[in-house]
Point group: C2
Chain length 338, copies 2
DNA sequence: TCCTGGCACTCTGTGCGTGCGAGTGCCAGC
DNA sequence: GCTGGCACTCGCACGCACAGAGTGCCAGGA
């Protein structure tokens, strides 16, 4: 087990490295932090920390930089979450309060998060699977063509065209609309298949084909084509780490374009509480030199989606975690109100 | 006026520079293109081209690179549009044909364009102003709360919440829905305000306030809040120009994040035909070292939105223009079918 | 009049050697 | 177990010379 002072040394190294972006040596460390010991002592501690794999030197006789393992220890044991200041909180709230619809909420959240953390922000749209149905609308566009509009409790709207096997009258349509809504409105998506199972039986034989088609499209929308969308922003912040360019930035941009990768990434994060994935802890290779801080957010107690930021492993973890947590909290409130 | 051969020299310089990304000298030019003259002659021509401002040397006694003016001449007079090959056309069509809804069409288009041109692709959603109304749906979510759903001919769906000044019965709602659709369905957005002007008069006094509120929300959606959305992709391609990094890439990423900037950019492009903006021709400073190739696309003869790519001034103009044109054409077809 | 070969000149990029400074590891002493 | 001291190791910036590519100009030839 590491002594208390060695942990302090590690903390100091992480803080200095995050601040200066340069390997930090024993002398600089004693000057900037009053550890109460001499550089020589710190050197011994550093050697021990290096043996344990928490720090490393880029070259012999350069300063030390934290390893992924070092950051991990820092995040788990040495750093708290830095709460937002009052003005920051108010700014967040003001900024989010102006949103007019769900798209706008997500867009504003992305911008906000990118600005607060000065990193790349990722916000997942409220997921369909965990949402409930607010309303299902059916519109007759042509005798045998129906538009299905699904509205969720989080304000998300999905629409699909349905080509019916047979012409479908307005009255039948109204009937289906009414029956459908009385069954599924307010219910969770996962329950819908069970709830509508026997619905075709309530209709005349000639309409059953159409009803089935509509229902299967609905189920598709709910489950199969349950595309999880997300929005990203603040990619320009990537250029702030102009050292390792473009070796570092390239794969990150590629990863960000691959929504599948990001969704998987967010999916792997724990369902409750904040998750920090550091460097190689990220399964996707292109993100091996980045850290991902993510947290679930939702309108009620339960998380309906996640948001977070992607930045270099050398990031201000306490500040970033604080910003992510605060934003998630306010977004949850906004969604609950709408 | 420049002689025929000097134009050929300029063309050769542009082509070589685009290919090699390095300043091109007189000797290399004569070796790679059979101009039928000696390097010394080419040198004279180059001196003349430099006097005219079409090319420049980065340093004394380095090769020449085209200036913005040089590219302009190249695009206007020396280069055609390189048509897509048969297999490419089929690939485009196959790729776009799989789209299930408008979002998907746009998303696929962005990916396709980014892959074809290996540059940053920008696709504007079909604009609301130039579209026609397919259907307006009103849903009662609570006694005094209505959801307004607007469906356009291009498949775009917009929804808004309306808080009514007074409770609004189902029958009144159905009445309004019917009247509204009979007036505006199939009409252009720009005509809608005129068409619904006197609609409140047809209702009982107690409902007029609500009807007015709904209508003004509709008009807002159509006009005022006519947010022009767009989707971008292929930003990872920016890293292919790793020279001038990050000085160049930074402002470009920032510009791409500012949808307002991009929309303005596309808006400035000509309404019909393909527009190429080269370097400083772009009003936005951050894009001074990039070129923007854009073209309108639409379901019928008329363009409803634009798409294009953003790349370095040193780009393969004929190829890029060919890809942009082809994609726009196929997207138009897809939209017309749906 | 226009093209060509030749020549001197100008720069940039690169490789090499050197010196400096930051940082380390180790050791003896307190 | 902490400290000061000391020798050592690198990386990096600097200076310098050199090769190579490219140019401009000029005189000669079609």
């Amino acid at each position: 087990m590491l002594s208390e002072r060695r942990l302090q040394v590690l903390r100091a190294i992480v803080q200095d490295y995050v601040g200066t972006e340069e390997p930090v040596g024993s002398k600089a460390l004693t000057e900037r932090h009053n550890l109460g010991v001499s550089p020589a002592t710190v050197r011994n501690d550093m050697a021990a920390l290096e043996d344990e794999g928490f720090i490393a030197q880029p070259h012999t006789s350069a300063g030390r930089i934290p390893t992924d393992k070092g950051y991990r220890l820092f995040v788990d044991k040495l750093a708290g979450v830095k709460p937002m200041t009052g003005p920051e909180r108010r700014a967040i709230q003001n900024f989010l309060d102006g949103a007019v619809d769900l798209d706008d909420v997500v867009a504003r959240t992305v911008r906000l998060l990118a600005q607060l953390t000065r990193q790349v922000a990722v916000v997942q749209y409220p997921s369909l699977t965990r949402s409930t149905v607010r309303h299902v609308e059916l519109l007759s566009l042509a005798p045998a063509r129906v538009m299905l509009v699904l509205i969720t409790d989080t304000g998300r709207v999905e629409q699909r065209m349905v080509d019916c096997p047979a012409p479908f009258g307005e009255t039948s349509l109204a009937d289906l609309r009414a029956r459908l809504n009385s069954r599924v409105a307010g219910r969770r998506f996962t329950d819908v298949p069970r709830l509508v199972e026997d619905l075709p039986e309530a209709f005349e034989a000639e309409d059953r084909g159409t009803v089935s088609t509509v229902l299967s499209t609905l189920l598709e929308t709910l489950v199969e084509d349950n595309e999880e969308r997300l929005m990203i922003g603040g990619t320009a912040n990537l250029t702030r780490f102009a050292h390792d360019f473009p070796l570092t930035i390239r794969p990150v941009l590629e990863a960000l374009e691959e929504q599948v990768v990001l969704l998987k990434l967010l999916g792997e994060a724990g369902d409750s509480g904040m998750t920090v994935k550091i460097g190689h802890e990220n399964a996707y290779e292109g993100l091996n030199s980045t850290s991902v801080v993510s947290v679930g957010y939702g309108s009620g107690g339960e998380a309906v989606a996640k948001l977070g930021v992607v930045g270099p492993t050398r990031m201000d973890y306490p500040g970033t975690m604080g910003a992510v947590r605060a934003v998630a909290r306010y977004v949850g409130q906004i969604l609950a109100e709408s």
